[in-house]
Structures are given as C-alpha cells and as structure tokens.
Amino acid sequence: MEDRVLLAVKDLHKWFELRKWGFIHVGFVRAVDGVDFDIHYGEAVTFVGESGCGKSTLARTMLGLYQPTKGEILFQGKRLQKLGRWYRSQVGYVQQDPYGALPPFMNVRRILLEPLVINHWGTRAERERRIREVLEEVKLTPVDDFIAKFPHMLSGGQQQRLVIARAIVMNPKLLVADEPVSMLDASVRVEILKLLDSVQKAHNLGVAYITHDLSTVRYFSERIFVMYAAKIVEKAPVKELIRNPLHPYTQALLDAIADPDPENAHKMREVPPGEPPSLLHPPSGCRFHPRCKHAIEGLCDREVPPEFEPTPGHFVSCWLHK
C-alpha cells in the first residue's frame, strides 16, 4: 500500500504571524490548521473550498514555497525540507491567472528554458528538443509559430497551455493546479481541463487540483477533499461525494451550485447564513458550527470533531457521523 503514495501530508499546520506596526504581535492567521492526506502516483485529487479557506496556502506549502509551521510533508517517503532544490524539478505548478503567471518580457522559448537552465537540465540542443516536445504535447502547434511569441500575443487558453507546458517541462511526478480554469471563459475551460486530463494520464502524474467550483470536478479527478476554515472536513471519491455528501458544509456547497435550468429562476436556494470565520480567531469546536443547522449544542461548539469513516473510503469530520 505505502509504495503507492507519492505525497503524504501529516498533521500539516501553516500559521502566519500577524503584526501591527510591523512588530507588535497580534496573533496567528491559521491558514492551514492540521491537515492529513495522501496523493497516490498518477492520481488526481481535488481540493475544494471557498476563498480564504487555506487551500492556496496548502498548495504553496506542498510546492515547498512555504515552510510548514508544524507537521510534515513526505515526497516519495522523504521529508520535503531534506530534498532541497531537487524537489522543485519534481513538482509542476499551474496557476489561476495564466497571463500573470507568465513573465511578459520573455518569449515562449525563454519561458520554457528557464526551469531547464535553473535546474541544469541537459545540453543546449537537448533543451531545445525538450521545449519543442512539450509544446507539441500541449498542442501549441505548429511550434515554430509560437516559439518566439510573447505571452500577450497569445489568447487566454493558449497562455494556460503554455503554463501547463512549463509545469511539465521538467518531467515532474506531481502537478499542483491552483484554480487553473477559473479565470478562463467557459468555452475554454473544458479545453484546458481536457488537456490537463490527457497530460495526467500520459505521464501518470499525481495532480492536486484546487478549485472553488465543484461543477468542474467530476470531469477531472478521482477524489475530493473539502476544506473549510483551514481544515479538511470531508474526503471521498468524486461520485460518492456528489451522490452522498455527509458534512453539512459539503451539502450546503452542493446545494448552492446551479446547473443551467430555467426552473432555477422560480425557486429559492437554501444557503447557510453568515460568512466563513476569520482564521485569526476561528470558532471553537467544529468550525462550521455557527452556521450549521444541525449543530449539537454542547458538543459541536466545544469539541473538534475527529475524522470518521462511515463508509469505506469516505471520511468526514462531523459529530453527526460518529
């Protein structure tokens, strides 16, 4: 079993210190607050949650851009901190805003060359060959038309393809995709998701797909992790989660999503009141309890719910499923 695990995250915490006037300690923003999960070789996993729930911080910590405050991340069984720069060539990063993710003053060739040069990959000729290879793979073809272009000459979809090309140019094992399609037009979104899917299958990549939009999830990943206020509240295979959401938050999230249907205009949706809590002073007990209509007084507001497994492979942190 263990050797299937590509990335193991154990009790991960990432807190940011908040200071006033630059030196007076105010408190900690608990962006990631005790998170456990595994990603297997060649598996696509989705992290879903609202903005400010810590999913982007989690992505950056997985990428090694942030040092964990507590807990550890193991890549192929080794601690991330010990892997150093080599790890950077093992993980690719796809960001939300494709235009912003590309240095505007570099052309396509230079953009793809950067990771190779920085990681001392191959000879000059080999690099050129590799660049053409990835451009073919993300279908920025004919390659000669694109290789000298600057990002602003590409459309949004093409820019995102280039970002994906850059993410896989080092032949990584893991891809972290943080909202890769949320800034694109609906018509292009599908195109990019399909590309990500084909890249993942072709290279047997582990993918951490981070999104706030559940409707795209079923087209891409195998498992979903639902995050709320810096914690993972539910983990399940995609179909299982959509059919049978267990956590009240997941239920609310699924209820809030509309499929295009003219009937929608004639009915109200049930939405939990309030806004997600501040991560500076999160509520005690279950973090969702102030908005939860099933909250059990004396339990949910006091004790942090542990992870239960009501059906095999379906984990939920909620006292209702004890």
């Binding site: 908040l18 200071r19 105010v26």
Partner: protein, 334 residues
Amino acid sequence: MGGYVDNIKKAQITEQISVQVYQNPAYQSYTTEELRKLIEQKVALEIKRLGLDKPFIRFDSLYGFFHSRAFMYLINALTLSLGRSEHIYSSSGSKQVWLIIKERLPYSVLLFTTASLLVFFASLYVALILSRRYGSIWDRLSVALAPLSTAPSWFYGIILILIFAAILRLLPFGGLVDIPPPENRIMYALSVLKHMVLPLLGWFISGIFVGVYSWRTFFLIYSSEDYVEMARAKGVPGRLLERRYILRPTLPTIITSFALMLIAAWMGAIITESVFNWPGLGSLYMAAISQFDTPIIVGLTVIYAYLLGVTVFILDIVYAIVDPRIKVGGGTAA
C-alpha cells in the same frame, strides 16, 4: 581639500591685519621687522581662531575626521549654532549668521510661496477644466505645450529679462524695489510688486505647463476608476463628482506634490534669485559663495535640510488626517 579657498582666506586675513596694524598709531614706533613679526603673530592667532589650521576634511582616520573643520561645521550646524559669518553683514550690521538668514528669509518666502501657490492652484484648476474637455483643442494644446516646462525658471527669467527689460524696457532687470526706494508705503509695495512680475512669470512659465499636463493626465486616469464610473452612473453632477470622487481620494497625492513643489521652489530659489538679484536666501547663498563665507554657506545648507525634513514630517501627519485607510496603521499588513 579646501586648499585654494584656504589660501585665499589666509591672504585676506593677512591683508586685513596688515592694514589694521599699519594704521594703528600704537605701533608707529615699531621697526619694520617688529611690525612683520607682530603681523605674523596676529595672523597665526586669527587662523587658529577660525580653525583654519585644522584640515578642512580628513578621511585618514576617524579621529582625523572628527577633528576636521568640515565635521566641526556640521556639528555646529546641526545644532543650529550657526555662528558668525566671515564677511557678510546683516543690514543692521550684525555678523550673526542666524540674524542674516532671518533678515533674508521673508523675501524668499514672499516670492516663492506666492509663485508656488500660483502655479499649483492654477495648474490644478486648468487641469480639471481640461480633463472635463478631453480631446478639445485646449486639451491638445496643453499636451503640446507641456515640454515648455523642461527649462527651469531662471532660464525663463533670462529670456523674460531679455524681452521685457532689455528690449521693451517695460520692467526692471531685477532687484527688490526701485532705487531710490519710494517713501510712500503704497508706492513701495507697488514697486516691489513690479519687481516681482518677472520672477513670478518665469516661475509660472516653467511650472504651469507640466503642471497642467500632469494633473490633467492624473485626473483622466483617476476618472476612469471604477468608483468614479459608478458615481457618474448614479448621476452625481460633474462638479460634485470631481470634488468628491476625484479630488478627495487623491488628496494625499495632491498634498505630496504640493510639498515637493515647495521644496523644489526653495532649492530653485538659489539660482532664480541670483538671476533677478532678489535679496532672499538664494542671493545670500550666491554672495556667500563668491566671498567664500563658509559659515553662511553651511548655515543655509542646514536650513534647507531642516526645511526639507520638516516638510516631510508634516506630510506624514497630513496623510494620516486625510486618508482614513492610514488610521488603522500597520494593522492591514498580513
């Protein structure tokens, strides 16, 4: 360093003392040789008193630096003990640097504060009108004229003197009042005003075009902010829109630029005043330069530094008053 100025100073001192000694009846009975010795002694004493025996500046060691004259001047200046001038007197006959500066200050303030206020408000006002009429002939003219402001005010001063004083003989070449000064107070004021026209005009020309251009551009940029669009959609009338949605949010920038303009005015004064022979701090500076009057030069430089410092400090306070976002201090930093 300071070598040739020192030699000039020493020569001046020697000459001064020689004259004193030769003219002093007390020394009439002295022989030439005795007189020579006496003068040498006195000169040495004076040099020591002025600190000219110490090097002007030294970097060979920390000790050397702290005992150099430059450092001495610096320390005295920073504590505003500006000391006594070497050659220049105030009109009341004092050699106190502080008094001399105090006497000149009002003239500089009169001219350059007037000039700055004039340029500042005129350019803001015109720019607002132009930004309302984007693309009109006047607007395009303002863009075309903007490069005129590339030259500093003294430059225009020279050109204006050429036209209005030399060729047309309408206005004076420079100075504060007519010579002799009119007895009547009103006539005196009018005469001063007449002498202010050209320096003001020079300052105005060198500032107004770029002022109008950059404020116009600034307002145009800010008038495309989302909240300005929103206010326009709400039907906020033009003038109110400008005041509440363009001027008000950009007040910190406007205030900063006014402060920076004042600073620039004080610096620019040095040359403009000397071109127009205006008896303010700038001319004093020039006079001090030509007479190598170090205490005055150092004193003025320090006054300038303090002016800048105070401006920057006031700016910080004004910011906090004007912008509600600053009141919360660093609390917004994550």
